[in-house]
């Protein structure tokens, strides 16, 4: 099944399994989103509205976004201004800068995981109006996605500490 997905950097098997799990989850959630929204368009023509489309759509959107952010972290594909990195070059200055950036990102992701978990714990009591699911399920996307992203940034930190040169981003936007 792997050859059906876009390439990812070389990594140990468990990280690859995690990455593929994330990738396939995004594909399935994305496909579900298309089906639900399109089904609702068809239903509108029949003067019928699927009441949970909006809530379910937003639920899926939150999950695909934070899982997608993790998939992007795995492929080093987040949007960044890269001119300074290019100026710094491949020498020791450039390596140090790249390592420092990854370490800062680790801290930010750590904050997201920690406070994301706090938010999840506080929102088991809030229930989505139509779907009747606890809000915690939706908010869980933030700490979960950030934790997975954290794994891949740590993978890069380890690789850099071992003196490996990592290729820049695999994909780009707009």
């Amino acid at each position: 099944m792997r050859h059906l997905l876009p390439p990812a950097p070389p990594e140990p098997a468990p990280l690859r399994w995690l990455g593929e799990l994330v990738d396939w989850s995004i594909v399935l959630l994305g496909a579900a989103l298309v089906v639900i929204v399109f089904a609702n368009v068809v239903m509108h023509q029949l003067d019928y509205d699927i009441a949970w489309t909006t809530e379910f759509g937003e639920f899926v959107m939150v999950w695909t976004t934070f899982l997608g952010a993790a998939a992007a972290a795995r492929r080093r594909g987040h949007m960044a201004i890269t001119e300074a990195l290019e100026l710094a070059g491949e020498g020791s200055g450039g390596r140090l800068l790249r390592l420092a950036i990854d370490c800062i990102v680790v801290v930010v992701l750590g904050v997201l995981v920690w406070y994301g978990a706090v938010i999840v714990q506080a929102s088991w009591g809030n229930i989505l109006t139509v779907l009747d699911w606890p809000m915690a399920w939706q908010y869980m996307a933030l700490p979960a996605g950030s934790a997975i992203a954290l794994v891949y940034v740590l993978r890069d930190v380890v690789a850099r500490l071992r003196g490996q040169d990592l290729e820049a981003a695999v994909e780009n936007v707009s």
Binding site: L4, L5, P6, D23, W24, I26, V27, L29, G30, A31, L33, V34, V37, F38, N40, V41, H44, T54, G57, E58, M61, V62, T64, T65, F66, L67, G68, A69, A71, A72, R75, G77, H78, M79, A80, I81, T82, E83, A84, L85, L97, R98, I101, I104, V105, V108, L109, V111, L112, Y115, G116, I119, Q138, Y139, A141, L142, E171, N172, V173, S174
Partner: protein
């Protein structure tokens, strides 16, 4: 003062190369800590989640999937063939065909880079073979490709509609006339190039039968914008639902009608589109978190008052806004630039009585120009790579095109009826 602190912190972090989403979040955290603000971090992170949640934003990944489905494979080639039967006879005809194909392609896809790649792959070799300089061919494709974000559907306009609250339907309407004007300006430039250099005096005029055959081959692709935009404008579906319709239609056309795409290509295509959109979404969410702090601290109010002291005139404000956005567009890609600057421009525009739809259009045009302004830019890179010429040579060839696009930009900025006429008519 807090605005200066936020701006300096953010730019220091972002220019160092920290991914924008993390730079924004870190700026938010640092600001809270530095100023000893007591807003709970949970509230701010809830704003971060809330920033990516809205139903309208689902349109972004879906329009990317739809555009990808239809632009893979042979649609670019068929659109070019159709454009060629219409305009191939003109002097500089291949250039005119390139521009017209980009216009049509813009109605199918909302991404400038996809436009440059799909049309450039076919047209750059054809132009070079005919004797156009590779630098001119590359420059033309770099500029014309950005018509895709001005002609609806447009991903930057969708995002602007969300961050500003302006109607996406009206934004899409506002893009039609300016997109065509940019196109006409570029076509005239090509005709002139064809006459002056003598490399392309125009081919045979196509017969009605040839035109009809090319039209029929391209018809299913050309029908897509009609369905999407018609559906939105006549209120049959919302922009979000239109995006889902675009996916289903694109799937039908590319898999069953043209047979350009197989099932096995779908997972990677969907994953790429959703990852691309997720990367944009988290920046939107992080901007929402920072904007929350900025708004609670009443910063936009202060900035608005400060700019109003500089000038009272709406026209002067628009000029300053254009210059600021052109500069921003040189350094930052359109989507992040739009997301970052909209929270400041929107209250200003309201204070000066500028219609938000008009502002959104002006911002999109400016940032599109940033896509091919040297030394960096998405379509610039794609086109230069396709033509295998250096950025320096392309930059020189870009000069006359800059003149044309700046003239059109100022026309759509200062003659409000050009972009807004259709909007007023159908509002």
């Amino acid at each position: 003062m807090i605005m200066v602190f936020i701006t300096l912190t953010f730019f220091a972090l972002a220019l160092a190369g920290i991914p924008l989403v993390y730079a924004l979040l870190l700026t938010t955290f640092t600001t809270l800590w530095w100023y000893g603000l007591t807003h709970p971090l949970e509230t701010i992170l809830l704003t971060y989640i809330g920033g990516v949640e809205p139903f309208v934003l689902i349109a972004v990944p879906l329009f990317i999937v739809g555009g990808e489905l239809i632009s893979r494979g042979g649609v670019g080639r068929r659109i070019v063939a159709f454009a060629h039967t219409l305009f191939g006879f003109l002097p500089g005809g291949l250039g005119v065909v390139t521009v017209f194909a980009c216009l049509l392609f813009g109605g199918v896809s909302g991404s400038a880079i996809a436009g440059s790649a799909a049309i450039g792959t076919v047209m750059i070799p054809a132009m070079v073979e005919r004797g156009y300089s590779p630098a001119f061919a590359a420059a033309l494709v770099a500029v014309a490709g950005t018509l895709a974000v001005i002609i609806p559907p447009s991903i930057p306009m969708l995002v602007f509609g969300f961050v500003s609250g302006a109607s996406v339907r009206d934004l899409f309407l506002a893009g039609v006339v300016p997109g065509i004007l940019f196109g006409i300006g570029l076509m005239l430039l090509c005709v002139r190039y064809g006459i002056v250099t003598g490399c392309d005096r125009g081919g045979e005029r196509a017969s009605m039968r040839e035109i009809r055959a090319a039209f029929v081959a391209a018809f299913p692709a050309l029908l897509m914008p009609v369905i999407i935009l018609g559906g939105i404008w006549f209120g049959i579906f919302t922009p979000t639902e239109a995006a889902a319709v675009a996916v289903v239609y694109g799937l039908f056309i590319s898999m069953f009608f043209y047979g350009d795409i197989g099932w096995r290509e779908l997972p990677a295509l969907v994953l790429r589109a959703f990852t691309t959109s997720a990367v944009v979404m988290v920046v939107i969410g992080a901007t929402a978190a920072l904007a929350w702090v900025i708004t609670v601290e009443q910063v936009p109010l202060m900035v608005t008052e400060w700019v109003r002291e500089v000038t009272d005139s709406k026209w002067m404000f628009l000029l300053l806004a254009n210059i600021a956005m052109l500069l921003l567009g040189i350094f930052i890609e359109p989507l992040p630039a739009l997301i970052l600057s909209a929270p400041l421009f929107v209250p200003l525009a309201m204070a000066y009585g500028v219609d938000l739809v008009h502002l959104g259009l002006i911002m999109t045009c400016n940032l599109a120009i940033g896509l091919y302004t040297p030394p960096v830019g998405g379509t610039l890179f794609v086109a230069a790579k396709l033509a295998q010429v250096g950025i320096g040579k392309v930059s020189y060839a870009l000069i006359p095109m800059f003149v044309v696009t700046l003239v059109v930009l100022f026309a759509v900025t200062y003659i409000e009826a050009l972009p807004m006429g259709l909007v007023w008519l159908l509002r």
